[in-house]
Structures are given as structure tokens and as C-alpha cells.
Amino acid sequence: MLRFTVRRLLQAVPTLFVLSILVFAWLRLLPGGPATALLGDKATPERVAAMNEVLGLDDPLYVQYFGFLGRILTGDFGNSLITGDPVMEEVSWAFPATLELSVAAMFLAVLFGIPMGYIAARFRGRFLDNATVVTTLVGVAVPVFFLGFLLKYIFTQEMSLLPPSGRQDVLIDATRVTGIATLDGLLTGEFDATWDAMLHLILPAVALASIPFAVIVRITRASVLDVQGEDFVRTANSKGLTTQIVRKRHVLRNALLPVSTTIGLQTGLLMSGAVLTEKVFAWGGLGTLLEQAIQQRDYPRLQGLILLFATVFVLVNLLVDLSYAIIDPRVRVR
């Protein structure tokens, strides 16, 4: 298992390497060249010349690339054109917010998705199953931002149950430790801050969870139905095992394999949903940074965000592979 983990980690390196080459090439293909891209259209010729010096544009490409690689490895992504602050700082400030939202959404999606998919499969063709299938169809079809607005309307405007936007009440003077608001309150003992952050988190997390939830339900359902018909389930029944053991040990364990792949893919896709959700709920995470960066062609910031998203994606898939290997011994030996 350890060897498998190490091997997978090492396999992630080339992926990130290729990605860095792509980003490097992308900056070089932009109109006006990388210096203009990194400094903005309004940069003075002197600054462009100075930047060219830093980038070493007269050097051979591979020297330029290793310079670039060295800078990103040391966390130097340049300064944002919009704020002038180092991209690294901006991103590490906003990242915890997006992380919190994404993890919460994925947690909800998995927590409710797998049991619902399983129940739908067990009551296949009956009311509960049909209701689930319809619900998930809606879940996949409804745009995230629409669901966001709808939830906001119901739970804040109509029922006044939950806060409409933001991550924390401004009146709460919470200490920032990790930047994950729900966690920080626990770490510092400011439980009211955690509670408040949780209330803020519910609606955006639910909105963001809708698509992965629906997909997980459907895959779980299909997978359980599939596995139920397998020969080894018949063997398990022929042994007279209790239904609980047959379901848990024989059906569910095998049925979870495709589900874990799905969870990984959905986590990757979550980022696009997060941008929209953050907008609806004024969440102020990476989504805001990304939106501004695209609108104002802030290439240094875009470069940083792209590399961050890609790294997260690679790491998530690594986790998926590991979970796969935990469930399925056939993967481990290969």
C-alpha cells in the first residue's frame, strides 16, 4: 500500500511538469509576448524592458523555462495587475474560503448521495426509486446559480432562517488562523464564530452540492443494481449469510468502486460550480479572483490560479486512486 502511494505520488510529478510547460507556452503565445501579458497593456516601455530582462527573453527557450519553473516552485507568480499584490498572497488568502465551500459541498454530496443511491437501488422500480431518479434528474439539470438564488429566496427572504451571503457576520470579530472560518472558531475557542460560519456555509454548500449529489446518487444506484446481479452475490446468498452482511460486505463494497471514481471527477468539476456559487453568495473565494482576472486579463493571477486548480485536481485524483486501492486489491498489485 505504501509502495503504491509513493508510486502514484511520483506519477503525479510528470503530469504537473507537462502542465507547467503548457502554462509556460501559453504565456509566450499571448499577443504582445509574455512581458506585456504579465505587466498589462499600459506598462511603460521601460518596465517591459525590465520584465524582458527578468524573463530572460533573449535566452534559449529551455533556460527561460527553467527560470519560470524555478519561480513558480518558489511561489513567485508575479504581481496581480489589478491589485499589484503578489499573486501568491492573494491566492493563499482566498483559497481557504473555496476549499471550505468545496469540501462542505462534496461532504454533503457523498453523505447523502451514496445512501440515497443505495436505497433507490434496493427499492428499484417502486415509488422511492422513481422519486429519487426524478429528483436527481432535476438536480443535474438545474443550473447552480439558479438553485442558489432559489435557496436564498426561500431561506433568507421568505423564512429568514439563514444569512443570505458572505462567510461570516461582520459583527463577529473572528481570529484568522487557517482561513477556514468554521475551523478557526474551533481552534481559537470562538464557538460563536464557528456557528455563524456554519450558518453562512449551509446554503452555498447545498447549492454547490446539487450536481455532484445527483451524479453520485445515479452512479451508486446503477452500480448497486449491477453488482446485485453478480455471481459472487449469489455465492454469498448460497452461504446463508445474513442480508446485512451480503449487502454491506459483498454488494456495497464492490458497488463503491465506480462511485469513488465519480467522486474524484466531480471534485474536479466542482471548481467551475464554485465560481458561480461564490458569485451568488458573495463568498469571496477564488471564484471572485478568477472572475476579475478573466474580465481584466490579469495574466499573472490567471497563471497562478490555473496552476493551483491543476495541482488540486491532480491531488484529488491521487486520493481517488488511493481510495480505489483500499477498496480493490486488484488495483494494489498492479
Partner: protein, 331 residues
């Protein structure tokens, strides 16, 4: 008293939008304690469905099961799911055709054996593990202490089938049903598995229902043989009666289509012409009529009954004449 008594068993598959399909049609036979009974027939003749119905493993939905299956005075067909689970694996064991797909790929073979010991013999995990290693040793798995922690994909086909046999026999059942246990294996392994099976059942005095389409297997193993065709038993006889002089044209044809060592060189095998798809409905006449060399008009209009004849049970209007046996000394 018979250990297992199957009376008039029928299984009708009903699915919306399709015609009901009778896979098993009034099948009756019994198994004495310790006896080995063969269930023979071509693919699709209803052998597996019969065994699954006995074990209570057919999905209730879409399958209508009739008749009775009595095991030691208990009617199995009316037992609740829970009562059935108490007996399956303990009193009745089953070995399936495809050893790879019949084992759970994601848990160790050790657990797949211990779980049945824990369930029926009240063993602790530890005791069960010791017993499981012993069982693996008994079914001839080399190095059981190491193998016990391996997964099915790490074993060869023959070893997997040995594991399935160990599972089925773990609680020393009184009846073992083996549904084509060697079909998926190499020829050399087939013989090993068969001799292992017959050794184990005779050692422990376990009754065995051997399901196969291979008459050669039956010849070496079974006391009584039931030949099925189109969901019905068409001939039942003791092994020697069947092989020395088969009376039903279908059995006769089956025996003639087996290659024999003592046959004169160059003598062609005579396979049964046509295929199961030519069958007519039993209600109409004899399902085998379209393929039968002995068929006469009555075969097309009147279903034959299963009747005692010549020391056996026979379902045929024009059985093969006594003395017309070509299979003398075969196999």
C-alpha cells in the same frame, strides 16, 4: 427416507411484455443421504434453474415456483427468507460454474470462508481462521497459511474452484449441489477437481447433486442419473442401466455423440441433429420430436408421460429397443 425430495417442481419466468417461459416443468427426483445424483442435459434444459429453485436462490420477482422441495421433512419452498438463510450454507452447499466470478474480488478468500463458519458454526474470527486454513489444506490448496490472505485474482482457476468447494463444504452440509463445477476449467484441472469432489463427499458422507452436460463426468461419479430435456426429466436410471442401454432417444443420441476410445477408427460421431431451438411445446407433443430419429405421428400430437419401464423412468412413445445398445462398454 430421502434426504431431498423434489416433487413436481416447476419454474415459470414471467416478464412484462414477454410470454411466460417455463424453464422447469414438473421435475421430480429424490436424493438419499450420501448418494450422488446426476442431472444431465444440454444447455438451456433447466438444470441450473432447478438447482437454484432448490436452494431458494431464484429471485422471487419474475419467477413463479411451483411444486415442493422437501429437505429432511422441511418444505423449503415455503420457508421465509430468514429461515432459508439459516439452512443454506449449513445443510445445503452449492458450488458454481465460474470460480472467478463466483468469488468476491475485493475481500480475501480467508474472509470468504470464515464468514460462513462464523455464521453457522458460531466460531470466533480466530477459531474460524484456523478452521479455514485447515479447510484450504483439505481441498488441496498449497500453502494455505499464506493463501488465506490472498485475493481471488491471485489464484489460478483450479485453486479458485478449490476455494469454492471449501466454502460450500465448510459447515459439513448434508447436501452439496455442484452446478457444472469444472466447465470453466482446463481439462487436466477438471479431473483433479472431480476426484477431489468425489473424495470429499464420500469421506464426509455428503449427498451430491452433480449438474453437468458431460455424460463422461456422470459415468465416473453418479449413482442415479436424471436426464433433462426442455425443462422436463425424460429418463431416469441407475448409472449402469443408463450407460449400458439407454432407452430414451435423446440419451441415446447424447451417448453416441461422445468420442470413445474403443470405437473403430474412422467411425464418425453422430451428434444429435438440430438444436434446442427446434423444440416444440410439451403441451403439443414431445419437445424432442423435431430432432428425434424415432419420432412418429403420436409424438407430434401427444405429450409422453414419465413412466416406469425396464427398471427405469422413461418419457417416450417409442423408446430405443432393448438390445439396440450401441454404447456397451463405452467410457
Amino acid at each position: 427416507m430421502a434426504l431431498l425430495d423434489v416433487r413436481d417442481l416447476s419454474v415459470v419466468f414471467k416478464r412484462k411484455g414477454t410470454r411466460p417461459f417455463t424453464a422447469v416443468d414438473g421435475v421430480s427426483f429424490s436424493v438419499e443421504p450420501g448418494q450422488t445424483v446426476g442431472l444431465v442435459g444440454e444447455s438451456g434444459s433447466g438444470k441450473s434453474v432447478t438447482s437454484l429453485a432448490i436452494m431458494g436462490l431464484l429471485r422471487k420477482r419474475g419467477a413463479e415456483i411451483g411444486g415442493s422441495v422437501t429437505f429432511e421433512d422441511t418444505e423449503l419452498l415455503t420457508l421465509s427468507d430468514k429461515q432459508l438463510r439459516d439452512r443454506r450454507g449449513r445443510d445445503l452447499g452449492m458450488v458454481f460454474q465460474d470460480p472467478l466470478s463466483s468469488l468476491n474480488p475485493v475481500i480475501t478468500i480467508g474472509l470468504q470462508i470464515t464468514e460462513v463458519l462464523e455464521r453457522h458454526r458460531g466460531m470466533s474470527r480466530k477459531e474460524a481462521r484456523v478452521e479455514a486454513a485447515e479447510l484450504l489444506d483439505r481441498v488441496g490448496l498449497p500453502d494455505p497459511q499464506r493463501r488465506i490472505d490472498e485475493y481471488p485474482h491471485q489464484l489460478s482457476g483450479g485453486m479458485r474452484q478449490r476455494v469454492l468447494i471449501a466454502i460450500a463444504l465448510a459447515c459439513r452440509p448434508k447436501l452439496l449441489i455442484a452446478d457444472e463445477p469444472t466447465t470453466a476449467l482446463d481439462v487436466t484441472i477438471q479431473a483433479q477437481i472431480l476426484s477431489l469432489l468425489s473424495e470429499l463427499v464420500s469421506e464426509t458422507d455428503t449427498a451430491l447433486i452433480m449438474i453437468t452436460h458431460d455424460l463422461g463426468i456422470v459415468a465416473g461419479l453418479c449413482d442415479d442419473v436424471n436426464v433433462m430435456y426442455g425443462g422436463r426429466i425424460v429418463e431416469r436410471a441407475q448409472r449402469h442401466d443408463l450407460f449400458d442401454r439407454s432407452r430414451h432417444p435423446y440419451t441415446h443420441g447424447l451417448l453416441q455423440s461422445i468420442p470413445r476410445l474403443d470405437a473403430p477408427r474412422g467411425e464418425p460421431l453422430t451428434p444429435i441433429r438440430g438444436s434446442v431451438s427446434d423444440n416444440i411445446e410439451w403441451e403439443q407433443g414431445c419437445a424432442f420430436a423435431p430432432r428425434c430419429p424415432n419420432a412418429t405421428d403420436v409424438c407430434w400430437s401427444e405429450p409422453p408421460e414419465l413412466k416406469a419401464d425396464d427398471g427405469r423412468m422413461l418419457r417416450c412413445h417409442n423408446p430405443v429397443a432393448i438390445g439396440d445398445a450401441v454404447t456397451e462398454g463405452a467410457l
